[in-house]
Symmetry: C2
Subunit: 204 residues, 2 copies
């Protein structure tokens, strides 16, 4: 069976960078934005629209893991969101079946449970996230301290709701991961080669 690493991460904690660097260290495929592109192709919807959909749970408050097709009846927006989620899960499973790979976010740790993935969660304190966002620049440049703080918390709240809706588990609960790394006092660049070694000491 292929070797799979999944990475859950708080916004600004360096999780995506760790994923990319790990894939380079290990020679694994790396999937992140590729999933959105493929989803867009298959659904004939724009990448922006698909991206927005997969970052939010549907507005229904019933988690899908208890099954509620009943509630969705007659609600096209809900059905579309659910169909996109299901298609995304299918794409993730296809990617995992192709080769060893690293997949960032998207409940991949849950979707690929049968693959016995190495499940990493990356987090850090707020000051460290702000610093990382400032260094990356882009949109964060126009925000003041308070706005950036709110943006970071807001994105993490959405991720938590999304994860909990689709998996029925609390987001970032350490019991659902093999390794949780706080990047506050370290650089992802230095960390990546050692995490690659650590991965090899697990029965995955």
């Amino acid at each position: 069976m292929n070797k799979i690493i999944t990475i859950g991460r708080e916004f600004g904690s360096g999780g995506r960078e760790l994923g990319r660097r790990l894939s380079e260290e290990l020679g694994f495929a790396y999937y992140d934005q590729e999933i959105i592109s493929e989803l867009s192709k298959r659904t004939f919807l724009s990448e922006q629209y698909v991206q927005a959909i997969v970052e939010h749970r549907p507005s229904f408050s019933f988690p899908i893991h208890i099954g509620q097709s009943f509630y969705a009846l007659g609600n096209p927006a809900f059905e579309q969101t659910m169909n996109i989620y299901k298609e995304q899960a299918r794409i993730i499973a296809e990617m995992a079946s192709k080769s060893d790979c690293v997949i960032v976010g998207r409940c991949a740790d849950y979707i690929l449970n049968d693959y016995n993935p190495f499940r990493i969660f990356v987090y850090s304190d707020m000051e460290s996230k702000i610093k990382r966002c400032r260094e990356k620049g882009s949109e964060s440049e126009t925000l003041n301290e308070k706005e950036l703080r709110q943006k970071i918390s807001g994105i993490d709240k959405k991720r938590a709701k999304y994860y909990e809706f689709y998996t029925g588990h609390p987001w970032g609960d350490k019991m659902n991961f093999d390794l949780c790394i706080n990047t506050t006092k370290t650089s992802v660049k230095e960390l990546a080669p050692v995490i690659a070694k650590l991965f090899q000491s697990f029965s995955i």
Copy 2:
């Protein structure tokens, strides 16, 4: 400043073994039972008695971090427990000031906060803890599956109460650690040299 590694751990997860192996890998002092021996010497109480005291929070339900010397007035058992905790904290601080070291349990991550310790939390799923306890033998040999499960849960509940009482923080909350390692799919023996390398990539 000396380099300090603190290890919080669920019972049966291999945290103590990881501490010992890390200290060997890094050439650091290792403190665990030594703390109890020193406490026993200083308080003129038996090691067994001291051990029992430091494994339980006092029966008062007011956490000490909000300061309640008032409530303790006239309660010698409470005062003795608090004095033993304070002496233990003093011993831990003295050990940390002597040399680089690894300290297992005992709220050391909280007590040594000013030392900027590398804070590890070790955990694993119940099946893996049962297996590890069986392999270690000793007392667990006489227990059936259900009894052993209860023993493990009971010890972890006590640890959680103890930690929360003395620190005011939830036990095992990943935000209070630099690294949380799930030992379900790995062996501590293989893990230790890699964690020693990982430690060196943190600004500690």
